[in-house]
Symmetry: C2
Subunit: 115 residues, 2 copies
Amino acid sequence: MKAIDGLTTDEERAAAIFRALGNPARVRIIMELARQNACVTGDLVEVLPLAQSTVSEHLKVLREAGIVLGSSNGRDARYCLDPEAVRWLANFCFGICCPPGGNSACACDVPCACD
Amino acid sequence: MKAIDGLTTDEERAAAIFRALGNPARVRIIMELARQNACVTGDLVEVLPLAQSTVSEHLKVLREAGIVLGSSNGRDARYCLDPEAVRWLANFCFGICCPPGGNSACACDVPCACD
DNA sequence: CCAGCATATCGTAATTTTCCGATGCAGGGT
DNA sequence: ACCCTGCATCGGAAAATTACGATATGCTGG
């Protein structure tokens, strides 16, 4: 992948998180983390049709993207969503659709659904 | 990539959009589309340090993910964000952080930033 | 201290993504 | 009718992702 310069820090952060979330298994993981309302662990391995090592690597990707918090290694690893990151991401998305300036109109034939 | 069954329709849609946005060039494209507040076209090729064919393919990915609307081919193609999709995505993210049930507490040591 | 369990990391193969140049295709101008 | 412009698509090479089994690592209980 070629480096794109001119990206703001926020855009880079968003791209990293988007990339991490752009995988069905990882979406399933974060939904499970959200549902459990707590940090789960190898429970995820039972939920997913994947090998333990694969799940571990998915968790690593999510951790490195900064969307999930968790212990590194040991015997009883625990993970949970980073609520701040999730919220930041949601705000980033809203920021695209409805920019601070407030000019949320789109010149195409589809009206903006924002408010 | 292995298929993960048990994903809801929303989760699949989210994963598809996340995957599309998980690339710096494509993030740059949607930011540009948002900034221009209108449908631009080959202007994107000038903005990005990529070949015209590559930009065209990025646009195709974004279109297929349903985050961008645009004409297919001809001479004067135009694209714009699909505001509904962006908004849907933002709400999906908020739904993770602050689920409808309202139990947004996290058992980890990081408090939930929601509200 | 040692065995056993839970998780992380390594090595690696298959698949997918990313990118480019070349080519195809549709419209607009002459 | 002809070429030129602007974009899409193809073919293919290089790089990244995804997945697994095997192995390493680090607690914890006996």
